[in-house]
Amino acid sequence: MCSRPNCFKVASFLAAFVTISLSACQPVTLSHEGRIDFFQYRSVYVQPIALSGDAVFPDLDSATQLYLINELRTISGFRDVTGVDTLTSDSILIVDMQVDAMDDFSRQDIEYRAIASFQLIRHSGGLLARGEFSSTNIDILEAQEDALDEIALYFLKPSRL
């Protein structure tokens, strides 16, 4: 049992605590505005990704293209993401990826740096967005995928909660 002054103090605190708690609920809104107008540009054709750099064979790569398509389908604001140019898509995503090997003599590891630069253009011509992301990893595939993840995140669908 507590003494009378202590009991009063405890009761006062608890009463104030409950009162403030019940009246203190505030809204918190988490939102993201799309980087482009996804109502106007609903579909995108992702071109095969042009690879370059000293860690890869220069090529137009369909495996990384497919990876990016899947990521865009999962999180982007585009309703339709395709790897085949049907001439009906609203926009074209052009990605160039440079992958270089970097020797780290102190760790006896080879690190790979992937630099992905992209351009989103209207199918009729005209630039909509451009940017560049890079990622470094000891796994060459991880380095490439992380850079492509950043591109997909750039086109994250608008949301509000």
Partner: protein, 181 residues
């Protein structure tokens, strides 16, 4: 990225003054570590998790990790998951004794909202100023009420704004209980 910087200078001045005053003031005798549970008092979401702090005389460090979920009936656009992500906080604070069983804490630090439920890599950050009223009915227990105001925050992290865009008080309250040792 950063959208809110109103009252920045004033708040930083008041906060620093209080922390310096606290640090230079009469030391609180007891070192204190505690582990507890914290619930944020928010609408349409449930944010709750673990809360740790260690206080040495006048100053301390506080960290918390909470899970953020959306209530089933929360208004939403383009978010299907109920699990939204997590909120990680790391703060430093000063202690202000009020009574033998009560103290206030004033601090600042970093809040990281890691919204994996929306998309991996969709993170929002905020620089909070917070005040805490802490009641210790016994030597091993404490209850607290904490209010934090975001001095700076990422675009799209709006405390006090509801789904329709109406503005309310920009203070995020949380309450919790701790085991003190």
């Amino acid at each position: 990225m950063i959208v809110r910087y109103n009252h920045l200078g004033l708040i930083a001045f008041v906060m620093l003054s209080l922390m310096v005053q606290t640090a230079l003031g009469q030391p609180i005798d007891s070192k204190q570590a505690d582990v507890g549970l914290q619930v944020f008092l928010v609408e349409d979401k449930t944010i709750a998790g673990a809360d740790f702090s260690f206080a040495s005389s006048n100053l301390g460090i506080h960290t918390s990790f909470s899970i953020v979920t959306a209530d089933a009936d929360a208004p939403r656009h383009n978010i299907d998951n109920e699990w939204v992500g997590s909120l990680f906080g790391l703060h430093f604070f000063g202690r202000v004794p009020i009574a033998p069983t009560m103290e206030a804490r004033i601090g600042t630090g970093l809040d990281s909202w890691l919204l994996h439920g929306i998309a991996a890599g969709e993170n929002k950050y905020a620089w909070p100023a917070y005040g805490e009223l802490r009641f210790m009915p016994t030597a091993t227990s404490a209850a607290f009420l904490r209010g934090r105001y975001y001095i700076l925050s990422s675009d799209g992290l709006d405390v006090g704004e509801d789904y329709q865009g109406r503005q309310h008080k920009e203070i995020l309250f949380s309450a919790g209980v701790s085991y003190v040792f």
